[in-house]
């Protein structure tokens, strides 16, 4: 038997339920089958006109219907579905009675164009000012939009639907949000505040303005044709990330609580780390120290050394800067070991699910541990000669995997890493 506490005397935190949705499909089985088969979920956008956009493809989730449609509504619906999948697997609590808090990574919420246009049409004349929009907003006609566009609305809905306890936390650490939601859950269990936590991350924000925003920052790939080949992590001809939608949910429990109720343990969150980069709003410090520090903090948190990590699930966005910086920093942490550690980027297939990515990739990492098979990095035909990772290129690889490091880096200097293992150390 392994100890219910880790090397630092804290409760060991295990995963007992997982749910996932990406552009590849709904659920763990479908996603995993397509992921190891090297399928891409990236396609030309059909949800709205793409005329005039530099980037016309994304990893959209088009098989979930939301009416009336909004990005926040889609985020909510995806979060609900993945949470249900995770709870079904965990078999914890009772229906609408989850015995712990909710930590939700969600994209920042704002009134969206369909609703703004509805308001514009309601003014009823061709010339108007913003004050005219404001004047007709009240009176109760649009009261549902108030609720829809509250930042806390998705979390409130999930909390009420699944009966999570206390005040649900909605959080954003940009592209690291999913990892942060897991970290908050781990910390709450380690502090002894709860035996279980529901960590959910969701992002359904492929809409015109979001694409334009990232385009204007020159962050997106413009290799639109064929869309499946756009996301090229670690390749010489990578030119940006591909926006994508998805959601992931994890049921975390203390090892003690999980074993006491006979739950199947799917994996262990052995370590979490986070370190802020104060260099620039969108660029990492050129010396990479904050990212290096983040990975080292995570190793220390797990009580592990670099030689114990046998796979890295990279942030791997396929932006020219990220992948280079990720290699430089990772190799600084792992030294000579780096050439022997297989590295992959799920974003080559599912795109960058932004707020959800940290959780989506943590789940893929746990599935990697379960299946002892590493999903490929597709579109890896033209390796960047300056990135000397052992990239699992194009074809999945069977491997002995006992501990995975999963990295997430975001705008605003957000860096977060997780270490996931099969068994408690």
């Amino acid at each position: 038997m392994t100890a219910p506490r880790d090397k630092l005397g804290r409760p060991v935190v295990v995963v007992t339920g997982m749910g996932i949705m990406t552009s590849l499909g709904n659920g763990k089985a479908d996603n995993w089958a397509k992921l190891v088969a090297g399928e891409s979920g990236i396609r030309t956008i059909t949800r709205f006109p793409v005329d005039g956009l530099k980037t016309t493809m994304a990893g959209t989730v088009d098989f979930v219907s939301v009416d009336p449609f909004s990005s926040t509504g889609l985020s909510e619906r995806m979060a609900e579905l993945v949470t249900q999948e995770a709870l079904d697997q965990a078999g914890i609590g009772a229906k609408a009675d989850f015995p712990g808090p909710l930590f939700l990574a969600v994209a920042p919420v704002e009134v969206e164009w369909p609703q703004r246009r509805e308001l514009g049409r309601a003014v009823g004349r061709p010339d108007f000012t913003y004050d005219d929009l404001l004047r007709i907003s009240g009176g109760g006609k649009y009261s549902a939009y108030h609720h829809r566009f509250m930042f806390g609305s998705v979390a409130a809905y999930l909390a009420e639907t699944f009966g999570t306890k206390g005040s649900p936390i909605s959080l954003s650490t940009a592209c690291a949000s999913g990892a942060t939601s897991i970290q908050l859950g781990v910390e709450a269990i380690r502090r002894g505040e709860t035996d279980a936590a529901l960590c959910v991350a969701t992002d359904g924000t492929v809409n015109p303005e979001a694409l334009v925003r990232f385009s204007l920052l020159s962050a997106l790939s413009t290799q639109n044709d064929p869309p499946q080949a756009a996301s090229r992590p670690f390749s010489k001809n990578r030119d940006g990330f591909v926006m994508a939608e998805g959601a992931g949910a994890l049921v975390l429990e203390s090892y003690e609580a999980a074993t006491a109720r006979g739950a199947k343990i799917l994996g262990v969150i052995a370590g979490c780390g986070e370190l802020t980069d104060s260099f620039h709003r969108t660029r990492s410090s050129p010396d990479g120290k904050p990212i290096i520090g983040c990975m080292n903090k995570t190793l220390a948190d797990a009580g592990m050394t670099p030689d114990q990590i046998d796979h890295i699930n990279a942030h791997g966005t396929a932006t020219p800067e990220n992948d280079k910086m990720e290699y430089n920093t990772t190799s600084a942490v792992f030294g000579d070991l780096i050439s022997k550690i297989p590295v992959t980027s799920n974003k080559s297939m599912v795109g960058h699910t932004i707020s959800a990515a940290g959780a989506v990739e943590a789940i893929f990492s746990l599935l990697t541990l379960e299946h002892q098979r590493i999903p490929p990095t597709i579109n890896y035909d033209n390796p960047d000669p300056t990135i000397l990772f052992d990239v699992v290129g194009n074809k999945a690889r069977d491997a002995r995997v006992t501990a995975v490091m999963s990295n997430s880096f975001g705008f605003g200097g957000q860096n977060a890493s997780l270490i996931l293992t099969r068994e408690p150390a």
Partner: protein, 401 residues
């Protein structure tokens, strides 16, 4: 009732820094003086019929020296970075690289100041018949400023604070309107109390002078219109007047503060939060009673600082809850500062700590009798924050014995 209460006790957590930039002024003295004089800075005309509490102008250069940094932010972020800088100054750690490189940040933020000219331009062009499929895309590609997105992202308030002040610990941004401010304080307190963290910067900022926000709240008829009144006197004329403010706190373990010779304003003993379902009248009040009961037992000279918004039915439910504790003097920050959304709860903690450190609660400012005079120095102040739509929180701020 569900347990999300932090469990302090292992380590006492002190409030060693406060930064305020509000409609009443910048800094502790200016805000305290305005409260003593019952001075309210309210604008009934600039956004008529909507009432706002505009920011008292500040010189951003003093906390954000690089113009380039200021240009990368919209007002809500500039206000927050400014207030955060004041808090670091107040704690005596501005420029202290050893501490700033490890300080943890939990920020409560909204986001997204929009470019109203771009929005209106698109909508009026469409009203005049622009209906090509790519019209919106093309206008946004050409009209949006490339860096506006960064001024809209919620976590870029924290990002800008880190950049301007060189912070290098952890950085978490909580969203979710009023209760996000309470949860930010709760998580920071839990982390310090449990030894996960030694020192944290906690707070939020809000620009209330925004028509895009007024549209959002007008959807729910939450805006106060035409005439200002104290929040307790708005029952028949309900609504909140948006306020501009930044409020940040430096929270620190007692040991960490003592080791560097820092003096506390007060200690933060407990923060509890919950999500009432608010399906029926009384649900929210019942949750407030439960939170009240969960706070540590209190025997000292007490007071309540409420973040009541003036919106209904939440304000009436909170008033009913307060009637059950009518012996405790109450102050509503919404009357003096307006409703600053995510910032209201950190602002309440700041004013509680300030009142305790200055040995007096600020005077009532209310025509309904809900707020009563208080004699003597408060030693225990409960901060109450009930969101206009969802989310409830309470904190206990106490004198350091």
């Amino acid at each position: 009732m569900t347990e999300t209460a932090s469990k302090p006790g292992q380590t006492e957590v002190w409030i060693t820094g406060i930064g305020l930039a509000t409609s009443l002024g910048e800094g502790l003295d200016a805000n305290w003086a305005a409260l003593q004089e019952k001075r309210i800075n309210v604008d009934e005309k600039g956004f008529a019929p909507f009432v706002v509490h505009p920011l008292m102008p500040v010189t951003f250069d003093s906390q954000i020296p690089k113009k380039g940094d200021q240009r990368q932010m919209e007002a809500w972020q500039r206000i927050g970075v400014y207030a955060a800088g004041l808090a670091l100054d107040s704690a005596g750690i501005k420029g202290n690289k050893d501490i700033l490189s490890k300080i943890d940040m939990v920020v409560a933020a909204g986001g997204g100041e929009r470019d109203l000219n771009v929005d209106t331009g698109v909508l009026t062009a469409e009203a005049k018949g622009a209906n090509a499929p790519g019209f919106l895309n093309e206008r946004l590609m050409s009209d949006l400023r490339p860096t506006l997105f960064l001024a809209q992202l919620s976590n870029l308030l924290a990002g800008n604070i880190a950049i301007v002040n060189g912070l290098g610990g952890t950085s978490r941004t909580f969203m979710g309107e009023e209760v996000a401010g309470a949860d930010a304080a709760r998580i920071a307190l839990s982390r310090i109390a449990s030894g996960e963290s030694d020192i944290a910067l906690v707070g939020g900022s809000h620009n209330g002078e925004r028509k895009d926000l007024m549209v959002l709240y007008e959807f729910g008829d939450f805006n106060l219109k035409n005439k200002f009144a104290p929040v307790w006197a708005r029952k028949d004329h309900a609504g909140f007047a948006l306020g501009s403010a930044g409020a940040f706190l430096v929270l620190e373990s007692k040991a960490h503060a003592q080791a560097r010779g820092a003096k506390p304003f007060a200690k933060l003993s407990s923060v509890v939060t919950d999500l009432a379902r608010r399906k029926q009248s009384g649900d929210m009040g019942a949750t407030l009673e439960k939170l009240w009961a969960k706070l540590p037992k209190r025997a000292g000279k007490g007071a309540i600082i409420s973040g009541a918004t003036g919106a209904e039915p939440a304000t009436s439910e909170e008033r009913d809850f307060l009637k059950g504790h009518a012996d405790v003097p109450v102050r509503a920050t919404g009357t003096m500062f307006g409703h600053t959304m995510e910032t209201q709860f950190p602002l309440g903690i700041a004013l509680a700590a300030l009142s305790i450190s200055r040995g007096a609660l600020f005077p009532p400012n209310d025509s309904t009798g809900t707020e009563i005079e208080m004699q003597g120095a408060p030693t225990q102040i409960v901060v109450v924050g009930a969101g206009h739509w969802r989310g409830e929180g309470m904190a206990l701020v106490e004198a350091v014995s």
